[in-house]
Amino acid sequence: MHPNYFRVFLTFARNSLVRDMMFRANFLIEAITGLAWACMNLGFYWIVFEYTDSIGRETGWGKYEFFVFLGTTWIVNSIVQTFFMPNLDEFSELIRTGGLDFVLLKPIDSQFLISLRKINWSGLSFLGLGGVTVWLSIQQLCQRAVSPWQPDVGTFIFYPLFILCGVTVLYSLMICLAATSVWLGRNQTLYDFWFYITNFSRYPMEIYTRGWGLPLYFLFTYVIPVLIVVNVPARIMAQPIYGGASHRGWLPVFMLCATVITFFASRWVFNRSLSAYRSASS
């Protein structure tokens, strides 16, 4: 008999919420901490845009377009951090301590159980901030005199869709990274790795298309596709008019393929890692 995955997920979500609410002040502090860092980031770009009208010449990333980009970064990252980060960080630990045995014994898909066991609800504060930032920036773009932003049904369908694709790509990369601890023994620096890899995804991809950035651009777009994670949905929302016409119009198609490929690749790596797993300390 197959378990009802959705109900299992809801139970996980409820348990995590109950746990979070036991330490309410801590929960609030965590949420505020995240928001304060984000606001500091916003302040930095605000200062940058005091000196320039756009990031790069003719890239279309003006002040408010870029704030849409920033908001999208927060939305994608908050979903990953809320649902997957605490679990995948623990995955390495489960491998090291041998606790993975108990996961493998349960009559449910191991990847599902490992990926969604805990939910870090305070991470959702970022989602709210990202949403508000995108919304306010779009309002500004609607009001501008030259080529104001115009709503389009496609935008509202594709934006969430590609955000989900972005989340899937990041999740897949992360589970591959975490699974390597089967072979490497310990992997304490998952958070570090994570920070440095996603660091590349936080900026418009156009900035890498110069000088010695080109190899990086190709590496992080086509081999380890972190660059498209935020860029594709953000572009759909911020620059819908150019979206189809520019030479990057085919990136959404590529992203759909990349999402499917990375997801199945990660599942393959995950299963390989399970078969290489030799229980520890028991």
Binding site: E50, D192, N199, I207, Y208, R210
Partner: protein
């Protein structure tokens, strides 16, 4: 103090320093890798500013050319390598909370000096390992240092400012930790401090980019000495005539923080009731 007492103190200090140094060098592989990784964000910063500078008329932002900007980030990282004190304040607060500082009270060792020596050893261990990645990075980016090598006076001020960044960073962090005598849990305070420190030390961007009224306000705070000041000295952003005056102000901050730490420690000990087993 007799000559013998002085000799004993120096040899005790030397022993503390050596133990901390050896403890640190145990994990040198992990250390070297970690240091290399820390340069990765610089790459994205270079490209971000490269793109920004393309769309700026005149090629200068608040007096910084693109090369200056990249050089600034590298130099401010060097400054942070001296001034950042990971885990110091939280360790001090934890030792107070859990009653661990009793050991300093029954031993003839001063806690603040012990910690300063420990940190100095950690930093020396860090530099022995980190020199190579730093040298590689500076060599690769040598083209961005457009104004060339500064004169001797600037060099002296630069080196001095780095050492003072270390001591000032240490005592600032220590004071936050010592607040733990009054509030057992200081994580929120520490967070606010880290946030201010990161933004106002100039680690994120050169402080000259700030609107002038903000810049003036921030120049009255000690944070800028932790990252912005050494880099600005090297890049010639501090006029030569006010260079030594600025160093003097930093010295005053330093003396002030040392005195504050001493007062906090003395007063704190009077409140301290030795919790824990």
């Amino acid at each position: 103090m007799t000559a013998l007492e002085l000799q004993n103190r120096v040899s005790a200090g030397w022993m503390i320093f050596r133990i901390a140094l050896e403890e640190r060098l145990t994990y040198r592989g992990d250390f070297a890798l970690g240091t290399m990784m820390r340069f990765l964000p610089i790459i994205t910063h270079i490209f971000l500013w490269w793109a920004v500078y393309e769309s700026v008329n005149g090629g200068r932002l608040a007096g910084y050319s693109f090369g200056d900007m990249v050089a600034y980030y590298l130099l401010s990282m060097l400054g942070r390598a001296f001034s950042s004190m990971p885990g110091l304040a939280s360790t001090v607060a934890k030792q107070i909370r859990e009653g661990e500082i009793k050991k300093y009270l029954i031993q003839p060792i001063d806690m603040l000096n012990f910690m300063l020596l420990g940190r100095a050893a950690h930093k020396v261990a860090y530099y022995t390992v980190a020199t190579i990645p730093f040298a590689i990075m500076f060599f690769l980016c040598r083209g961005y240092f457009e104004s060339g090598i500064p004169n001797l006076q600037v060099w002296i001020a630069f080196v001095l400012s780095l050492f003072m960044a270390f001591t000032l960073g240490f005592f600032l962090d220590l004071c936050i930790g010592l607040v733990g005598f009054w509030f057992l849990e200081i994580s929120s305070l520490l967070f606010v401090y880290m946030l201010l420190n990161f933004f106002l030390s100039g680690h994120m961007f050169p402080l000259d980019l700030l609107p002038s009224h903000w810049h003036i306000l921030i120049s009255y705070l000690p944070f800028k000495y932790l990252a912005y000041f050494p880099a600005a000295i090297y890049l010639g952003k501090i006029p030569q005539e006010s260079l030594w005056q600025e160093i003097g102000i930093e010295l005053m901050w330093l003396v002030g923080m040392i005195l504050l730490a001493r007062v906090l420690y003395q007063r704190g000990l009077k409140r301290y009731s030795g919790y824990g087993g």
